[in-house]
Symmetry: C2
């Protein structure tokens, strides 16, 4: 799906792919600092030397996984139409959250990642900064369409965009004691940020959409 590997050897590709998949799985479940190249190799039943033949070091694995994450998010954005009704807004959050959950270590362990590979911090920031711009455009659109309450200042509306990004980048490492349905909970949690900003008629539409789930 997201493999643009140029290797000519198909047999080779399989192991290479397996290593990356296993690394992702272990990073997510055990924490980045607790997963070594040895663990990954052992779990796959291959030698550590073999792993290092395919990927010179642990940071390479992390960098590749980060790139895959960004590409998956960007791919998912291609299939949107231009409209932004409430259902589409919520679905868009859901799509993003599902992908993010697959790469959860990038968020729960982001400080470790950033300290190991400072470039990722920069890329991470730039990516979500562009997301924020999109939110601001969307909110401006909502405002001109009269969906946003008149009393809301531009300053406050800009803070809302910031709160969206803040929530999106932080929900995976939240201390909320939610184990199952964490995804559904945080989709609603995120969508509800905008509710008190909406005009009464809009509010009811969103409210019913969120409570029916």
């Amino acid at each position: 799906m997201y493999h643009k590997d140029t290797s000519l050897n198909l047999h080779n590709l399989k192991t290479k792919e397996k290593i990356l998949n296993k690394a992702l799985k272990l990073f997510n479940s055990n924490g980045l600092e607790n997963v070594t190249t040895r663990h990954i190799a052992t779990e796959l039943g291959i030698s550590q030397g073999n792993l290092h033949y395919h990927y010179p070091n642990k940071n390479t694995l992390i960098k590749l996984l980060f790139n895959h994450f960004i590409n998956e998010i960007k791919d998912s954005e291609q299939f949107k139409d231009g409209s932004f009704k409430e259902q589409i807004f919520i679905n868009s959050i859901k799509t993003n959250y599902i992908i993010m959950q697959n790469y959860s270590f990038l968020f729960t362990d982001k400080e470790i990642v950033w300290r190991r590979i400072p470039e990722i911090k920069q890329d991470f920031f730039e990516f979500f900064e562009s997301k924020k711009d999109k939110f601001n455009q969307l909110l401006a659109l909502y405002k001109t369409e009269g969906l946003i309450r008149k009393q809301i200042s531009d300053t406050q509306l800009n803070f809302l965009a910031n709160q969206f990004i803040f929530t999106i980048t932080s929900w995976l490492s939240s201390s909320d004691n939610i184990t199952e349905d964490k995804l559904d909970y945080f989709i609603e949690f995120t969508a509800r940020l905008i509710l008190p900003y909406l005009e009464k008629s809009e509010l009811n539409k969103w409210e019913s959409l969120l409570t029916q789930n």
Copy 2:
């Protein structure tokens, strides 16, 4: 201040105290996974053996720092009067954030802490759960006093309390590119969560309070 050490030797206490302070400083600045007992000892000009005489291991240092953090927060809550006008609300956030900033590694590296010492995760959660109860009480009070807009559902108001706790526990590891005045920015960021919930007259009071800074 927060030292309830029962040691009888005053000379002893000084080194013990210095170790804990230095550990905190290094955890905050270098990241928990990058600070070893060797580093702490070297920075203080003492031997690693000496450090381990005072504290058997690194986890003990982390646990003690966590307890100190909790105690400092609880101490700061003693000096409140019963009222909750907007200025007091904002000051209360500020007091908490300053203490949190002094123990920033507990938040930026909370996943590492929790994986090392699972009890802390539990204590952390319980502490902020009780904070959430206080927020809910406060919001209920605001509601009966007519400060909260009538259209706001109880469900939505409960989400606001959750969003407060979420923000409080996540701001220190936010990916916002704010380096200086991060504290002031996030005090405003947090306070502004409640603004779209307020009745118009209240809104103006809060808005002017937040923009004057």
